[in-house]
Subunit: 410 residues, 2 copies
């Protein structure tokens, strides 16, 4: 309660500040796009078309298969959910064939499972898929979403230009705030502007959005993950200060459990998204995901890194021989550390580093290897730590200061 | 017996023809390189260093885990097996620390399991890893290998130039033939010459080698597989006529079960290697390979395509929207068909084609889907066949002529 008051107070200082109090840690859930796209032919594809059934199925799985218990709370609709025209009163509504009970009923269903419902719109004449956009309807749409009980809005940027976006994204932020219903506000805006200053103003984004897509859409491809991570590292001096509780850089969805990633690559994406303090939205089919991927995505140690209350995004400190080493500061003087390999030369690689090379203060630390959940022992920050990292793989650790050990050993 | 006589007779016509009678279908087995490279530190890496233990372990697994039963017969050593110098009599011998019992004992062990042993040398001053090369020692080395009971030789091309290779590869072929022991002869030669005429003479290769590497070394990477397949398709008019019983184009090892391939990508590599009539040498760790990859690599229907006695290499016929469709003629008027997707857009893709678009004669065919081993029903060659192919995935079929149906339906 105290925390909320502090947040509201802090936000009152800025005119357009997101005062919704949500997404204090990176939001977690499920999002339809990467896996299910804009499939609208429910006759041919009844299990995978964008329909209320799909989202009810995913809500069922989030509820029953342990996802909710580890933090995956949002069931998020993406594009292609709407009727092709607004109704007579100018309001949006779900495609009547595919959402016969309407979005409010779906929200009730999802809330009944103890989960939250996200939705998609676009600031433009049309959405990317050609459905009605929000331009000129910001307040109506925000109110509609609030009345339905929507908990998050992904706001895309097709069919609008740079200058209209600069008006529309703040306008929708204000409209959402005015409804009085806290809705996480995800802005695709910076991705359309190249993701970097001076075209992108991260101070403003942090005041009006809870998260934002900085870079291109992820596809079902390891290459994309490597490219995204490289872009994040290259621009970390811009991106790291932009992130924090309530405001997150979004490298896009988790594709773990889909068609392209091996188990090692899956651990690598999941671990790196945790280091990057990224929103964790899976886009996969929770009805038939294989157990080895469930195990990765439900790893509580890695999720704890992602959800650290300090909300500080990690940085790359070392990058040599296709082995990159990252660290992320966590609460209580702890650090997450990731050694990521983009090597393809067949055999695990022996990488050595010290914590002091990763911006970690002098001292003694207990190291826990997070994927196998295995203690690695105690290390001084100057000690060499050797890990074997698989091709396209990750070794992910948490360093916890050993109390009172500092003056004795370092 | 008749077949062997025919082959020997056919070969006597050509002066340098491989008259070893082996590799009448693409050889199958296991090869150390991609997965285990040149790890020689057995103290630090006792399980993965290049040592007699590694090859004995793999022979055990090939024997006991069903591999031998479906055709994987070769256990192949790659680089870094030798002592750094020849012995006093000028002969090669295994590194005494890592192969304390010598290669002959290893061959005996492998033969005792009903398997065959392959070895590696290089036509140059040194092997790629810096061990003694065969240049000037061709007869000695061929005789040594024959005395040890070697069944296959991979002959690499580091530390030699174009003109010495043009002498060395035929010379070693002759030396191997002279021993009287049939040894499959794998030539890396064309890969060093760009793989294409006029620098590469495929007629000559077919006369002196049983298989040859045409292209770069495969790494643990889906991108490599896509690149290899693209190169094979682009140059199919050169490559297809070069292949046949006893002489094969080699797109390099299978990396299924390693660190980088998903299950769909694994089916894609395995299926395409069968279509390409490629040697099937796995380079993985058979001691801890996951069951889903074993199932792919031991798929008897796909192996039957690979091992078709006609030995005709497949061709790409359609290539659009990142969906490519291949066919390979098989015995008894049958055809293998593969639909390969390199798409990454999240969801299975609906691809339609007809058998007549794939160079398959008019008629009626029974179609069998080979990975799920499921009948798809009967189709006329002009009928549209619709398949759903996963991103980075394959649908692999066998078309069998329906007897007497041709005049009735087509």
């Amino acid at each position: 309660m105290k925390l909320i008051i502090v947040i509201l107070f802090a936000c009152l200082a800025g005119a357009n500040c997101m005062n919704n109090g949500v997404a204090r840690t990176p939001p977690m859930g499920w999002l339809a796009w990467e896996r299910f796209r804009c499939i609208t032919d429910c006759h041919s594809f009844p299990e995978s078309c964008i329909s209320e059934k799909l989202f009810m199925d995913m809500a069922d799985r989030l509820d029953k298969d342990g996802w909710k218990d580890v933090g995956y709370m949002y069931v998020n609709i993406d594009d292609c959910w709407m009727a092709k025209e607004r109704d007579a009163t100018g309001r949006l509504y779900g495609d009547p064939e595919r959402f016969p009970n309407g979005i409010k009923a779906l929200a009730d269903y999802v809330h009944g499972k103890g989960l939250k419902l996200g939705i998609y719109e676009d600031y433009g004449k049309l959405t990317c898929g050609g459905y009605p956009g929000s331009q000129g309807h910001e307040e109506t749409d925000a109110n509609t979403f609030a009345e339905w009980g929507i908990d998050m809005l992904k706001f895309d940027g097709c069919y609008s230009n740079d200058s209209s976006k600069a008006v529309g994204y703040p306008l929708m932020s204000e409209a959402l705030n005015k409804t009085g219903r806290p809705m996480v506000y995800s802005c695709s805006w910076p991705a359309y502007e190249g993701g970097l200053p001076p075209k992108v103003n991260y101070t403003e984004l942090g005041e009006i959005c809870n998260l934002w897509r900085n870079y291109g859409d992820i596809q079902d491809s390891w290459d994309d993950i490597v490219n995204i991570i490289e872009w994040w590292a290259t621009n970390q001096n811009v991106l790291v200060p932009a992130a924090g509780p309530g405001k997150w850089n979004d490298p896009d969805m988790l594709i773990v459990g889909d068609y392209s990633l091996s188990v090692d690559q899956s651990m690598a994406q999941f671990g790196m998204w945790a280091i990057l303090a990224a929103p964790l939205f899976m886009s996969n089919d929770l009805r038939d995901i294989k157990p080895e991927f469930v195990q990765i995505l439900q790893n509580k140690e890695v999720i704890a890194v992602s959800q650290d209350p300090m909300g500080i995004q990690g940085k790359r400190w070392l990058n040599k021989d296709k082995i990159q080493t990252w660290s992320r500061p966590l609460q209580n003087g702890q650090y997450a550390v990731a050694v990521l390999s983009t090597r393809t030369d067949g055999t695990p690689y022996n990488h050595s580093f010290s914590l002091s090379q990763l911006g970690i203060p002098s001292g003694a630390y207990d190291l826990l290897d997070l994927f196998p959940k295995k203690s690695m022992g105690k290390f001084l920050s100057k000690d060499q730590i050797s890990v074997m990292v698989n091709p396209n793989g990750i070794v992910m650790m948490r360093a916890t200061p050993v109390k009172f050990a500092v003056p004795l050993f370092d």
